[in-house]
Each structure stands twice: as structure tokens, then as C-alpha cells.
């Protein structure tokens, strides 16, 4: 019996040991929670550079003051509040919240402490057991340019954190991440890999051993630098010229598809969105009627206007429905026109932007393959036409995985079937799309891409914004070549016309003239009732071996030649020659077209058209 008792107790003890040491794995976790203190080492975020390696966006640090309630000892809240730079009530509330969250895990007491204040606090940090200062990378925009493209780097929201927990568990509360633009798309490359250092602490939180948990220790890997395709000088120049206006500039290097400049005006100072002022700044931008947060260059869809005629001409030549010498009357009974001309060939029609000419050109294209019924002929012809237009990048999302790019709208037969009913429409119903009006919608990026396609005489490369990421070159898909399927010779009469738009006496684009440079351009004026028209200009230069193709869109500013063309010429001149006509620039710099509140959100396609 006595031995039985001893054996029983022994068995109970060994059973308990089995339970504690072999079954309950959580005790091990608790032990390492108690004895290991993990420090996260934040890597520097990758820089964002322009095409000439000029740093556009640098990486700086701010600090968060955090507290681990378990390690608080003899806290003098009055002194601590003064040290932390917050009121005593705030400190006590923060401590209470931290205790509720976890006794073992750190919670933030104060965020975004600037380096100068950090230095003051760090000097006496040792007095406040339980507190730590965590370094956190933030952005500094050196030149404050390309804000929309680069995007925002801000504190991770609850949703961001939730997504991250299922995904790769990189962020913890209070961390920053790329919210929009390139910062968001290349977040994984830019952010780098967090380092981790575990130390063993004793019961009073004094560090006792370093480097014992080598298996989980890891050096931080800095984020990869991102080289954009932007040209800082051109970008700055474009922002200077668009300051105070609403609109956009997109400039592309035709041979590569690299975007040299992309501006959406109005823009805002990205540095306002950093640090403690972010909340208020963001609110005021969000509620600004001119929508400064909205990236017009890739997201706004406008009717393209007369620049669309260039494509109509090239497609018609390729379809064989006209030849370069085909003369068509300016029959103003079909559609209104402007200017003293009666009959034009293709080049002349481009110069005069003759509406009846392109009315008839598109009519021929649509009705080329007759089915015997004018309704079905138009339907089949329109679908075919849409494919040709899409080959120019319209109606598709350009921009190589830049988020938020709009596709615009190129209507097809089913679109009009929904509007008018099947077999209830023919070319006579939809003719306004022939001159870039009606239901057509395009982004400034697509318009600049049209200029690049014309510059290349029939092909374009996917417009993209990233030249190199982490030394591995451009991302997949950037600069992929797309063909329009139209022979280069068909572009000659059109480019002849474009050159004359600028160079001929009385051409609508005369304000884009640059001495010594052959600029090929086309104006457009898009009606914006009841306000002033939108002013559009696309161009490339020089005519042979083009270096730059661009679109300039100025909202509510009047005729295309008046505002968009001179802005384009200044940009081309600056980019190609390194100098600008300072007198000309002075005229457009301070000048601001009447700019009412943006109508973007409520803009609907209309059938009315106006030509210059």
C-alpha cells in the first residue's frame, strides 16, 4: 500500500510533466514572449529617381514613442508627460489604452516625432522604463513634382493591416505603406525587408544576451530604388506652366514609350501630406472643388475633339476608301465647319480641321462593306472601325499596370443598340464621333500615345513610368511594341498636314511654332457648354527622328490653339534645345484662363461639336 502510494504519485507527476513539457506548446511561446525582446529594424525605403538619376523622393525618418505596460516602473506621469511632449491626461489615456490592448506588446503613445525632438527625448529615454522610440521611414519630396504619379505614402489603415495579415505579415500598427501611384504599385520592392533582432532580457527587462536567437535574427534589407522614366526638368517645366490651371500634360519618348512628364493640375505639395499635418491637408484637398487629388492625366476621360481626325484619315487610307489626293467638298449641310475653305485633300483637311471632310471619310469607312441594309452595314462597319481605333490604344488601359487608369469609351454596335435599339441607327445617327465628339471618351495619356504613334508612323510602345527597379530593368510589359497595322506611307499626308497646322500662315497651331524645329501638331477644341471650351493640343517633334510626343489638355480655357499649343511648344523647345523663348513663356506663366469648378464628375458626352 505504501509503495502503491509512492508509485501513484510518481505517475501523476510524470503525467503532469508530459502535459506541461510535451503537450502544451504554448508555454514555450509564453517563455519566449517573456524572455525575448524583439526589436524590429526598419529598412530605408527605396528612393524614387528621375531618368537621369536625380532623386525625386528621398527617405527620412520620424519616430514613434511606444510603451510596453509590463515594463513600466515607478512612472512619474507628470515628468513623463513633459518629456513626451503631451498633456498628462493624454499620457494617462494612452497608458490606459495600451494596458487594455496588451501588457506584453508595445502600443503607441505619440506618433511622428521629428528628428530634433527625438534627439531630446532619446537622451533621457533611460529614465522611463517601458518606453521605446521606434524609427519609421517617411518620404521627403525634394522637388515636390509628379505628386500624382508617385502617389502617397501614409499610415496603414485597419483594412491594409487585415489584408497584410492574410498575405505576408509585414506591417504592424502605425507602419506606413504606399497608398496610391508608384508608391503603391511597387510597395513590395520599395519597402525592403524588415530586420529583426532578438535579445534575451531578464525579469527587469535588462538586456542579458544578444544574438542567441540567431535563427530569427535578420539584418534589414533596404528597399530597392525605383528609377522612373520622368525627366525632372521637363516635369518641372510642365508643372510650372500648368500652375494655377486645370488640365494635364503627358509627354512620351516615342521610340521607347517612356513617359517623360506627366502632370495633372491642380496639384498639391506632397510634403503637406507627411507628418502630423496630413489629416487636415488631406481633408481640404478632398473637398476642394477643383479635385486636386484626382489624377487627370490617366483617370479623366474627355472627348478628344479634332485630334481624333488624324486617326480617321490614316485608317481611311489603309482601308482604301480614300487616297491622299482625294478631294472632298466642305459640305456644311452635313455638319458645321469653320474657315474659308470649300474643297480639301487629306492634308488640307487636317490643316483646316474640316468637319464635313472627316464626316465623309468615316462614312466611307463604316459603309465600306455593304450588307444591303444600311442599318446592319453601319453596325458591322462600326465594330470593325472600333478594332482599328483600339489598335491606337484608345478604349484600352494604357500605362503598364498603373492603377486607376481609365479606358475611356469607344462605342461599338452593341453600345448604340442599347441607346437607340437594334436596327434603329446608322452612320447618320452617330456621325459626331467622326470628329472626336459624341460618345467618345479618351484620357490625356491616350492622346499623348496617339502623338507618339503618329511620330512613329504606325506603332507605339506601351507607355510606362518605370525605367528600372532594383537594377533589374523595366517591369514586364513596359515598352511592349504594338502595331496599328497601318503602313508608314499612309501617315505622310497626315504628318504633312500636322506640320502645316503649326507652320502654315494662319494655321490653328501657329502658337506652337519653334524656330529651327519642325513641330507637327494638331489642335482640338472640345465644347464644354455652358463654360469655356477645353483646349487640346497634341504634337511631336522634330518631324524626323522624333524625340518627344505630347498631349496638353487645358480645361475650360477656350480654343486649342490659344492655350494648349503655346504650352506644348515651350515644353518641346525646353526639352529639345535646353532653352525657352522667355518672352513667350512669360505670357503664359502668370496667365490663368478663367477656371470654373471642375465639371469632370458630371461631364456627359454630347453630340454637339465645334471646330476651330
Amino acid at each position: 500500500m505504501v509503495v502503491g502510494i509512492v508509485v501513484t504519485i510518481t505517475c501523476i507527476f510524470i503525467g503532469r510533466l508530459v502535459q506541461l513539457q510535451l503537450i502544451e506548446g504554448e508555454l514555450k511561446v509564453k517563455a519566449s514572449d517573456l524572455t525575448e525582446s524583439r526589436t524590429i529594424i526598419n529598412p530605408s525605403r527605396g528612393l524614387i529617381l528621375d531618368r537621369h538619376n536625380e532623386v525625386l523622393v528621398g527617405s527620412e525618418a520620424v519616430y514613434d514613442l511606444v510603451v510596453t505596460p509590463r515594463h513600466l516602473r515607478n512612472l512619474d506621469t507628470t515628468a513623463c508627460a513633459i518629456w513626451a511632449g503631451i498633456s498628462r491626461e493624454d499620457l494617462e489615456a494612452a497608458l490606459k489604452k495600451a494596458r487594455r490592448f496588451s501588457r506584453y506588446k508595445p502600443s503607441a503613445v505619440r506618433r511622428r516625432i521629428e528628428p530634433a525632438e527625438h534627439a531630446r527625448m532619446a537622451a533621457v529615454l533611460y529614465k522611463y522604463s517601458g518606453f521605446e522610440l521606434w524609427r519609421k521611414p517617411i518620404r521627403s519630396h525634394r522637388y515636390r513634382v509628379a505628386t500624382h504619379l508617385i502617389g502617397e505614402f501614409a499610415e496603414a489603415s485597419a483594412d491594409d493591416l487585415k489584408r497584410d495579415r492574410e498575405y505576408d505579415r509585414h506591417y504592424r500598427m502605425g507602419d506606413y505603406l504606399g497608398k496610391t501611384g508608384l508608391e503603391a504599385i511597387y510597395e513590395r520592392e520599395l519597402r525592403g525587408v524588415k530586420g529583426r533582432r532578438s535579445v534575451v532580457v531578464d525579469a527587469r527587462n535588462r538586456v542579458r544576451q544578444v544574438g542567441v536567437a540567431a535563427s530569427v535574427d535578420r539584418a534589414a534589407e533596404d528597399g530597392q530604388d525605383l528609377t522612373t522614366t520622368l525627366d525632372l526638368k521637363l516635369q518641372q517645366h510642365a508643372e510650372l506652366l500648368l500652375a494655377g490651371k486645370a488640365g494635364s500634360v503627358v509627354a512620351i519618348e516615342p521610340a521607347t514609350g517612356e513617359v517623360l512628364a506627366i502632370v495633372s493640375a491642380p496639384f498639391y505639395d506632397p510634403n503637406l501630406m507627411l507628418g502630423a499635418s496630413r489629416g487636415a491637408a488631406y481633408d481640404s484637398l478632398l473637398h476642394d472643388s477643383k479635385k486636386p487629388l484626382f489624377n487627370r492625366a490617366i483617370r479623366a476621360t474627355y472627348r478628344p475633339g479634332s485630334i481624333f481626325k488624324l486617326m480617321q484619315g490614316a485608317i481611311a487610307l489603309d482601308e482604301g476608301v480614300i487616297s491622299p489626293g482625294t478631294q472632298l467638298a466642305c459640305d456644311r449641310s452635313l455638319i458645321g465647319c469653320h474657315g474659308p475653305h470649300t474643297m480639301d485633300d487629306l492634308s488640307g483637311a487636317v490643316i483646316h480641321s474640316c468637319n464635313p471632310y472627316f464626316y465623309q471619310v468615316m462614312q466611307r469607312t463604316i459603309n465600306k462593306r455593304s450588307t444591303g441594309n444600311h442599318f446592319t452595314t453601319a453596325a458591322r462597319g462600326l465594330d470593325h472601325w472600333k478594332e482599328r481605333i483600339e489598335a491606337f490604344g484608345f478604349g484600352t488601359k494604357l500605362g503598364n499596370r498603373l492603377r486607376g487608369t481609365a479606358a475611356g469609351n469607344i462605342p461599338d454596335a452593341s453600345y448604340y443598340d442599347k441607346v437607340y435599339g437594334q436596327r434603329h441607327w446608322d452612320f447618320g445617327t452617330i456621325y459626331s464621333i467622326a470628329i472626336g465628339e459624341g460618345e467618345l471618351l479618351a484620357t490625356p495619356l491616350q492622346m499623348a500615345n496617339l502623338a507618339a504613334t503618329l511620330a512613329n508612323r504606325g506603332w507605339y510602345r506601351e507607355p510606362h513610368f518605370v525605367k528600372d527597379i532594383g537594377g533589374r530593368g523595366a517591369p514586364t510589359g513596359a515598352g511592349v511594341r504594338f502595331e496599328t497595322g497601318i503602313a508608314p506611307r499612309h501617315f505622310v499626308p497626315i504628318i504633312d498636314g500636322m506640320q502645316n497646322v503649326v507652320e502654315q500662315q494662319g494655321g490653328t497651331g501657329w502658337r506652337a511654332r519653334i524656330p529651327g524645329v519642325q513641330v507637327c501638331g494638331k489642335t482640338g477644341t472640345v465644347q464644354n457648354d455652358p463654360l469655356l471650351d477645353h483646349s487640346v493640343f497634341i504634337a511631336f517633334a522634330p518631324r524626323d527622328n522624333p524625340q518627344i510626343a505630347l498631349s496638353v489638355y487645358v480645361e475650360s480655357s477656350g480654343a486649342g490653339g490659344e492655350w494648349a499649343a503655346p504650352i506644348a511648344s515651350l515644353l518641346i523647345q525646353g526639352h529639345l534645345t535646353g532653352a525657352v523663348d522667355s518672352l513667350k513663356q512669360a505670357r503664359y506663366l502668370g496667365a490663368v484662363p478663367p477656371m470654373p469648378d471642375s465639371q469632370l464628375a458630371i461631364e456627359q458626352p454630347t453630340e454637339t461639336a465645334q471646330q476651330p
Partner: protein
Amino acid sequence: MSTRRKNISAHIDWTLLGLFALLAAIGWLNLVSAATGPDTAVNWSLESMHGRQLIWLGLSTVITLLILKIEGEFFIRTTWINYALTTALLAAVLVVGRKVGGARSWFGFGGFGIQPSEFAKFGAAMGLAWWLAFTKGLHDLRSIIGSLAIIGLPVGLILLQPDAGTVLVFVGFIFALYREGMSGFVLVAGFTALVMLVFTIITGATTVNYPWIGPWSGILRFLLATGAVFTAGIFLGRSMTRPRHRRKLTRNLVLWAVAALTFSAVLHTTMAEVLKPHQRDRIHVLFGIEVDNPGANYNIRHARIAIGSGGLTGRGWCEGPMTGFGFVPEQETDFIFCKWSEEWGFVGSALLVLLFAALIIRIFFIAERQRSAFTRIYAYNLGGLFFMHLLINVGMVLGLAPVIGIPLPMMSYGGSSVLAFSIMMAVLLRLDAERFSVLR
């Protein structure tokens, strides 16, 4: 003379001595680790904790060798001198002792301290053995009263210190009483009462948040658990006994359960309603319940984490951060088992428990082969003391028994305990070695 000495060394129980020496060696190595911590080199000075322990071990070895040379008859004859001396020390310590942790239980001599309660175990074990051998068992009132008086005197003095842990160790003498004629009923009833007493007081002082009822005394949960254990016992018993015994067994168990629960309820009511607050606090202090901070189960929680973090094979000698970096208080004394467990894992912990079990069972085995009643009873007493130490200390550390501070023999830091256990072990070895020359 020379043949006699040769006889003695030939008849020494080397198994028991080996087990005991192994335990002492393990205990000392473990103490080296407890004094060192993972971030420091071992300090080999005699000033260190393990250095002092080594001095005590050396002293114990010398005394052990001396005792092995002295005839057993000497110890039997000096039983009462021994008993009087250790009991007098217990009385003296109440007057001139140092107060440590609320209890007056130490004599201080310079750097070293002596804890007389450790030696009182020896005196009482000898005294009880002499008395029961003299009365030839526990059969009449005189033998019962005499036994109770022999145990009761030191127990009373220790209660005055107060030191509940050491008092509970004296329960170990029940093995000998049972062996010498006490009815099994008393043994079982005694154990039941002891368990109910300890748990009633401990759980009665806690507050548990119950579903539906809300926060209330933890005694309710304990009573419900006890009821469940008895119910399970009744059904288990029924299925394991022959039909004709079933009714009797069920009736006995039901009576037993009613008695145990009534005892607990009455005890709790007495504690809560009859005793004055300061008296209640006294009892709570006795059981190591922190009166000011009833929620402080910090020690036991961290002890459990330290043991659990040992896993299968442990962190390695001197490598345990939980014990080494101060997360487990008293890791060198009452919680020494945590140190061992964290560093040697399940393998080491199970081996240590088995080593203790083997030692205790060996002592009982030796007891049963004696012709001398004195030696038999003394061996039972020693086995019982070892068993109670193991039961209370390891049970506490594993979270199975309440937090009552007593040392784990030969493992915990402390010279008095090592010396006392060595003396008791040496006397048993000597008496056992003479088992063939005993004529009585």
C-alpha cells in the same frame, strides 16, 4: 575489531547510498547552474552559492563517514538526548532566531544559517521509532498518546514560527503509524482530511468569476470538483467490484463524500464567519496566501512556463533563461525543480522524479527486511519524510498542490536540509548494515 568493520562496509546498502549520492551530485550541479545564469561564466569561488553548498556537502560527507563508524546502539541509546536537543533548538529559535519572510526559523552564525526545524525531523523520527519499538506497536491508548505527543511537540513549536510547510512534512510519519498497527481507516481519513483542509483554506481565499453566478469564493468550484471525483469513484468502483460488495462500497463512498464535503463546508464557514479577520489572516499567512494580493499567482505561473519551455530535452545546463534571468523567484530553493526542468527537459525531470521514487521505495524495502523494530520504524519515518517533501515541493511546482514553501531534499540550496538529510540517511545506512548482528 577489524573483521567487524569489514562486515559493516560489506553490509552497507550501496544501492541506497548510490541513489542518495547521485541525488546529491545532481543537486549540486543544478545549483551551480542556478547560481550562474546563461550570460555569465561559472564562478568557482567557495564564496558563491554552490561553493557554500559544497562546503555543506563536504561537512555532510565527513559526518556521514563518522556516523558509519559509530555503532548503531549509540544512536538508539541517545535517542532522547537527540530529541531533547532538537526540540530545545526549536524552542530557542522562537526566542533568539532571525525573522526571515515572516517566520522566525533561523539561527544566524556569521554567513551561515541553521534551520532547527530540519534537525527536528531527525529527532522526531528517532523518538517515534524508539517509542513504537518500546510499546511494540500502536495498539493501546498509551502508545497512541505517546506517539501523538512525540510528534505534537515539535509540530507545535514549528507552528509557532510559523512554518506550515514543515508541519505538513511531519504527516509523513503516518506511514510508520500505519505500518505499526494504525487502522487503514485513519490513514485514509487523515489524508482526506488533510487534502480537504489545505484546499478548503487555499480555494476559500480565492475569488472565481463563475458563469451566471458572478464572482464568488473559489471554494464552490473546489466542492463541485470534489463531488465530481467522488461520483466518478462510485461509478468506477461499482464496475470494478463483485456484485455482492457493490452495495457496501457505494454506501461507504457516499458516506465518505458527505463527510468530506461537510468537513470542508464547516471548515470554510468557520474560517469565514467565526474567526476574526486577523486570525483568518494568520492562517492565510501560514499557508503562504498573500493577504494583500490574492491574485498573485505570479510565481506558480512562471514556474509552469519555465517547466513547459524545457520541452523534451531542455535548454541545456546553465542555459535556462526563465530561471536564469529572474522570472522564477526562489529558483534556487523552493522552485529548484523549475531550474532542473527547464534545462533538462522532460527527460531530465522524469528521471529526477523516478530517482526520488526509487530512493523512497528502496528505503521502504530496507525497512521491511529489518529484524529490529526500531530500525524498521525509523526507516519508515525517513521514507515518509522524503515522500512528503517530494509530494509537497514537486506538487506545488507542477501546480498540483498549493504554494507551500519547503525544500526539495538535496536539490534546494540550504545547508541545514542537506546536513539533516545526510545525517538521517547515514544513521539508516549504519543501522541497516548491522541488521544481521541484531539479536533483539
